[in-house]
């Protein structure tokens, strides 16, 4: 069981996550929002572009139906992703732009969260995480 802390007074639950570049050398610590309402783990194009990925590395083009209409992104196999202190190699992320003013680089969705049992203690600003998947 690992414990991740967050600011309990914030509007969102923000934690630090790490994304590695395609060669496995470079990594980017990022601010990510936990979103149990998102199926996918989302990372913005600015981050993946700077790490050396490109849409040519993508697996599939995606369509997001948002309030303002349809927008496109793509899925990508990242060399390594870490959050809550747990590493997942060859992890699929959804590359999709988020407004710069939001102050986050992405979302941790169920594609990552479902590998764990977790308990969000909002008042304490703590998340207790235990890996369940091998």
């Amino acid at each position: 069981m690992k414990v991740t802390r967050f600011d309990p007074t914030g509007d969102l639950i923000i934690v630090i996550g790490y994304l590695w570049g395609p060669g496995g050398r470079e990594k980017r610590p990022l601010s990510l929002a936990i979103d149990t309402g998102s199926a996918e783990t989302v990372i913005t194009p600015d981050v993946v572009d700077e790490l050396g990925y490109s849409p040519r590395d993508g697996e599939a083009i995606t369509t997001v139906r948002a309030a303002i209409g349809k927008e496109h992104g793509y899925t990508l196999r990242a060399a390594r992703f870490v959050a809550f202190g747990f590493a997942v190699p060859d992890f699929r992320v959804h590359v999709f732009d988020l407004a710069s003013g939001w102050g986050i680089d992405g979302l941790i969705g169920l594609s990552y969260l479902r590998q764990f049992n977790y308990e969000i203690r909002s008042e304490e600003g703590r998340i207790l995480v235990q890996r369940t998947a091998p």
């Binding site: 923000i14 980017r28 610590p29 989302v42 700077e50 369509t63 202190g85 710069s100 939001w102 102050g103």
Partner: protein, 90 residues
Amino acid sequence: MDTALNYEPFISEPLTWAEICQRYPDQWVCLVEIDIIEEQNFEFHSARVIGHGKTRREPFVQARPWRDKYDTIGHFYTGKIVAPVPRYFL
């Protein structure tokens, strides 16, 4: 537009997160030499700033000259995060 040529590479002295927020309010920053306390928590003793700006991309552009030297470059926002989060469906 790529504005990399408009910037001279710079690196700050080691700063705490509070000092970074005070010096670069409501901006995106790129950090190196992050003296993090625990990997899973956003708490560190100090870090050096190598890029800052109002857009997500701007500090990344300024940080490019340092990529050969630093494998780990943090990317964070110093302002208050008040994002509405939309829902995603593939």
